[in-house]
């Protein structure tokens, strides 16, 4: 990832190149999730416990989002609310 970041900084504004990279990222993600799907389909324990897995997923999301927005509210009230955005 660091190697990629350095190359990205050097290439910086070449728009077409970035567009191609974003497309490639998408396809790499599709391939990976497809492979993960295959492994899950082959795995009987996961298939038999999908309800439990779904419930846990939902609960963790709930906790993580609620935690994040509560801290964001505190930060917003202390640091962001009264200060006006600087002149651009």
């Amino acid at each position: 990832m660091v190697a990629g970041m350095i190359i990205g900084t050097i290439l910086n504004d070449k728009k077409r190149f970035i567009f191609i990279i974003d497309k490639l990222v998408n396809w790499a993600i599709y391939a990976l999730l497809f492979l993960l799907g295959i492994s899950v389909g082959l795995n009987k324990t996961i298939i038999n416990h999908l309800d439990n897995i779904g419930l846990k997923s939902l609960a963790i999301t709930f906790g993580a989002v609620l935690g994040s927005i509560l801290f964001a509210l505190i930060t917003y009230k202390i640091f962001f609310k009264k200060t006006k955005t600087p002149v651009k």
Partner: protein, 201 residues
């Protein structure tokens, strides 16, 4: 949103193929995901490095802008830590690693699968997709009741791309830069945080 549907489709077609064994033996016996992951990390690095707007945002807001991703990290990890107590068969570090996906479901689920196995990987996938969906649906409410930073915090790593439009709509254009910056910082941190949490805790 369209992108996440395509991803889900690829995932589900993989599940179906695996379920009914419609696969050549090469696919079953070899794990290609590690190499695909290396390629993906390299490509993500390139797109993060070539995005200049984060530097502008740092200049404009100085130190304050770093508080936003810090809030997301502390909030997500603390929230998922508390949730882990609800389930007897969910370890604290497992819940925290899933929470540390910050909505970046593709990368987090793959990393967690590599380290902890498929079950937790699927939880990470579902949980972080849900995070994106919740942000897309509830951002206007979050902005109203939890302040203008809340949609950005809820979006987590997705606040730089998929959820950016709804965040800008809910919080206002002046928060777009903060949102992109927050997304970039969290995107970079996801793989490191997950590895640290699962391997060291």
């Amino acid at each position: 949103m369209k992108n996440s549907l395509i991803i889900l489709l690829f995932f589900i077609s993989g599940v179906i193929l695996g379920l009914f064994h419609f696969l050549p033996d090469v696919m079953v016996n070899n794990d290609f995901s590690k190499y695909a992951l290396y390629v993906l990390m390299f490509l993500v690095g390139i797109s993060v490095g070539s995005d200049k707007s984060s530097w502008k945002a740092i200049k404009q807001y100085k130190f304050k802008i770093f508080l936003v991703p810090v809030c997301v990290i502390i909030g997500s990890l603390l929230g998922s830590l508390l949730i882990s107590f609800l389930f007897s068969d969910l370890k604290i570090k497992e819940a925290m690693a899933v929470g540390a996906g910050f909505g970046y479901y593709s990368l987090s689920s793959i990393f967690i699968t590599e380290i902890s196995g498929y079950t937790l990987g699927v939880i990470a996938l579902l949980s972080n997709i849900l995070r994106e969906i919740i942000t897309l649906l509830a951002s206007p409410l979050f902005a109203k009741y939890f302040g203008k930073l809340a949609p950005i915090a809820s979006g987590g790593a997705t606040s730089m791309d998929t959820t950016l439009p709804i965040i800008v709509k809910s919080s206002g254009k002046e928060y777009a830069m903060i949102s992109v910056f927050n997304g970039i910082v969290l995107t970079i941190l996801v793989p490191f945080l997950i590895t640290i949490i699962l391997k060291l805790l």
